[in-house]
Amino acid sequence: MKLVRDVLDKKLTDREKCEMGRVDGLLMRVGERSQPRITHIVIGGSTLWMRVHPALARLSVRLARIWGPRRTEPITIPWSRVESVGKDIRLDVKARDTGALDWELWIARHVIERIPGGGSEEEEE
């Protein structure tokens, strides 16, 4: 398997086929004599912007401190939770429990649901 072609930037879905973002980064453990291993999938945070330019990453952290769910750290999912790698990557997790939907829920509660006709998360369930 090839990491960049088959894993990086691919869509992630959870146990219930709920979309939970994309593979924005991958954590790799490297040792002097041991074979490097990919330990975690990274979603969100400044990971994505770091790939474009460090200044953008710093800006995204600053903005995340003042608006939104106040989460500056990215979400990390252990590689052991990867169920399958195909066109999309299926994870053996529940999206809400990982924090991957924090921004989605925050904007729903603080912006969308305050506008008439926006609906509500509780209603749907």
Partner: protein, 404 residues
């Protein structure tokens, strides 16, 4: 049977592409200045779009991924972010122009200045997206967009010399005003080959849940839809050629363009033009707003669908709400929509390679398309579009300065 109703996706895409304020303004200007001599530019734009739109639908139907999703996955985020920046900025400018176009149409119909219409128009567009579903927008915009058929009626009623019209389909270089001719030709191509059409169409195919059984229908939809739009655009040019060129009138303002149907349909033509443009620009505004929101959501991995209630895809809904609000601001401040239109067309032409080059690579990727990859004909057409797009990219801004 259900598949034939999908023609509406083709129609709404082409209305948003061919009959929005930019295309109509340039077609009218082309007719007024050069008679039928620039019909070839509309024909070329139509042919290119038929192929590009068909490919967009095919990619979505086979891979179940949109162009935006596939671009991020294949090219990685850094490259994708450059494409996103270019495409979103230009699409935003076009959105401002379309909202302005609705405002100008209402100005003609009611007498109240377009600045006053900026907020109600933006609110109306936003409300349609907030409460509507994808099919409502698709079918509604197509149906309303059919009012533009009045352009064809007007053109035919003015009894053009069909021989000369046919001659205009062959590219010629004029004796004088070469820079202006070049500028208008570039504007026509920049106005018709708009990447947001491809992004919208491929997203629409996913919203409408297309699969490989839609491939033959997709060809018909793309072909019919874009030909419909191209025909209507040509009708505008022909009507403008007959209405303005003999009198030496050049189309600089929207109100002037509104006169192009009056020789055929008397004063009703004036109001009918405004009504047709209102619906066409509305369709375009909805399409562009959705395209921009799709770009963010699909590229960054958020939930997205016009069919979900806004709280179920809150980030997607937030993006289109924010951009429509921000797009109203220049209009409230009195920025001339026609000037924004001209700038947006030159910039579309200048950034076209950013959209088309990755697209060519995607359309040859076996992991997305399997046996439905491009054949040599489609690849050749895209290669020609890439060539045109690089030429446009280099000359559009200088021409805008010299000939605009």
């Amino acid at each position: 049977m259900k598949k034939i109703l999908q023609l509406t996706l083709g129609i709404v895409t082409s209305v948003g592409g061919f009959l929005e304020i930019g295309s109509v303004a340039t077609a009218a200007q082309a007719g007024a200045l050069f008679g039928y001599k620039l019909l070839w530019a509309i024909l070329l734009g139509t042919i290119c779009l038929i192929f590009l739109v068909e490919m967009s639908g095919r990619l979505a139907a086979v891979s179940k991924h949109t162009i935006v999703e596939a671009t991020r996955e294949r090219f990685g985020f850094p490259f994708f972010s450059a494409v996103m920046l270019g495409m979103v900025l230009v699409a935003f400018l076009v959105l401002v122009a379309e909202l302005g176009g609705i405002g100008l149409s209402l100005q003609i119909l009611t007498g109240l200045g377009f600045r006053w219409w900026a907020v109600p128009v933006s609110l109306a567009v936003w409300l349609l997206m907030w409460k509507g579903t994808f099919s409502l927008i698709e079918n509604g915009a197509s149906l309303l967009g059919l009012v533009t058929v009045s352009f064809v009626v007007a053109a035919v009623k003015m009894h053009p010399e069909w021989g000369s019209v046919a001659h205009g389909l062959i590219p010629t270089v004029p004796g004088d005003q070469k820079a202006k001719y070049g500028f208008v030709a570039v504007s026509i191509l920049g106005a018709s080959i708009s990447p947001y059409l491809m992004y919208f169409y491929s997203s629409g195919a996913i919203e409408d849940k297309w699969d490989t059984s839609y491939i033959p229908m997709n060809r018909i939809i793309a072909g019919f839809g874009m030909t419909f739009g191209g025909f209507l655009s040509m009708a505008v040019l022909i009507a403008a050629a007959l209405a303005f060129q003999p009198r030496g009138i050049s189309v600089e303002k929207f109100e002037q363009a509104a006169l192009l149907m009056t020789p055929a349909l008397t004063h009703w033509g004036f109001y009918l033009f405004a009504l047709a443009m209102l619906f066409a620009c509305l369709g375009a505004a909805l399409e562009i707003s959705l395209s921009i929101a799709y770009f963010f959501a699909q590229g960054l991995g958020w939930s997205w669908s016009e069919d979900l209630t806004p709280s179920r895809d809150s980030r997607f809904s937030f993006v289109y709400t924010a951009i429509i609000l921000v797009a109203a601001v220049p209009l409230i401040l009195g920025v001339d929509p026609m000037k924004v239109t001209m700038l947006s067309m030159a910039l579309t032409a200048a950034t076209l390679p950013l959209a088309i080059v990755p697209f060519l690579i995607l359309m040859n990727d076996p992991s997305y398309l399997g046996g439905h990859r491009n054949g040599w004909i489609s690849n050749s057409v895209v290669a020609i579009v890439i060539l045109i797009s690089f030429v446009l990219a280099v000359i559009s801004i200088p021409l805008q300065i010299i000939g605009g």
